[in-house]
Amino acid sequence: MNNEFINKWISQLKKGTLSFLVLSILKDEKEYYGYDLINEIKKRTAIEIAEGTLYPLMNRLKDENLVVSKWVEQSSGIPRKYYNITASGIDTVVEMTKYWNNINKTINSI
């Protein structure tokens, strides 16, 4: 078994599916701040992600109008930036899910 090859493949797969994961979590229309979202990904998927990579991703999803964000003041004085999915984000994740299920079905049938 070529472990190096598998590790690279896993890393590429994780990178490629992170936006899908994030949108899938946000699609329940609950709002999350960055740290909370990372914990939710860990909790639901047992996938370890490089935490810092979430922020550039959220920036891109925001640019694409798939999510919106707002700052909320906290009693600690350290505000949180909450993310919410948009209507376009929901439509996008529905399409992504269909594609993902299709590809999963195809791979399983091989």
């Binding site: 936006s19 960055g34 740290y35 909370d36 810092g52 922020y55 550039p56 700052w71 600690s76």
Partner: protein
């Protein structure tokens, strides 16, 4: 939104935290103040939320080091966001210095940015043409005669032949080239903006 430093009990934690924030600030210093503030606030929020959830009752320094290690090296994970935001700032303001910096940051993000850099350099060549016209007005211009000569720039009259009579723009050379530069600059920058949006859509 105001930035507030996180208070730590252990002075060593404070040192580690401040050092990390310095690295974040350095990694994003090229951006506008507003963008810098936004990123710094979000990273600070992540560190705060991470450190206050010390479930394993680790010592403060160890726990902070864990949070920062999981977050990653700011110079690495912030790089794509800085390149992206810089490009957005540059195409929004049409500021040539910002455009140059944004292109430098994005040069490794696809061949299109190399092509854009070359096109902007090509545009810069026309600025040199204006300077050359001031220095050497006789031999710089738009020389045109059907089926005979077409030169935009400098001609060398090595054989003693003068083409001055075919110069078409005369005193209008500098204003025309200037307008040409401005129009081309605006078009190029709009295309750069469009290219960025298309790239984002393909991600």
């Amino acid at each position: 939104m105001k930035f507030k430093e996180i208070a730590f009990k252990d002075p060593n934690s404070s040192r580690i935290y401040k050092d990390y924030l310095k690295r974040v600030s350095h990694a994003i210093h090229i951006l506008d103040k507003e963008n810098q503030q936004e990123i710094l606030l979000e990273i600070n929020s992540h560190i705060y939320e991470g450190t206050r959830q010390n479930s394993k009752d680790q010592n403060e320094v160890e726990h902070l080091l864990d949070v920062l290690e999981k977050l990653g090296q700011p110079e690495v994970f912030l790089k794509p966001m800085v390149a992206d935001r810089k490009l957005k700032e540059a195409t929004k303001t049409f500021n040539p210095i910002k455009i140059a910096k944004a292109l430098m940051l994005n040069i490794g993000n696809g061949i299109s940015y190399i092509i854009f850099s070359l096109l902007y350099l090509f545009l810069f060549a026309f600025v040199f043409l204006i300077i050359a016209k001031i220095i050497n007005p006789e031999h710089i211009g738009l020389f045109y005669r059907a089926n005979h000569i077409f030169v935009l720039g400098q001609y060398n009259n090595l054989q003693g032949v003068s083409y001055s009579e075919y110069e078409k723009l005369g005193d209008w050379f500098i204003p025309v080239i200037l307008v040409f530069i401005i129009i081309l600059y605006i078009i190029l920058t709009l295309f750069l903006k469009l290219n960025k949006n298309l790239k984002n859509k393909s991600l």
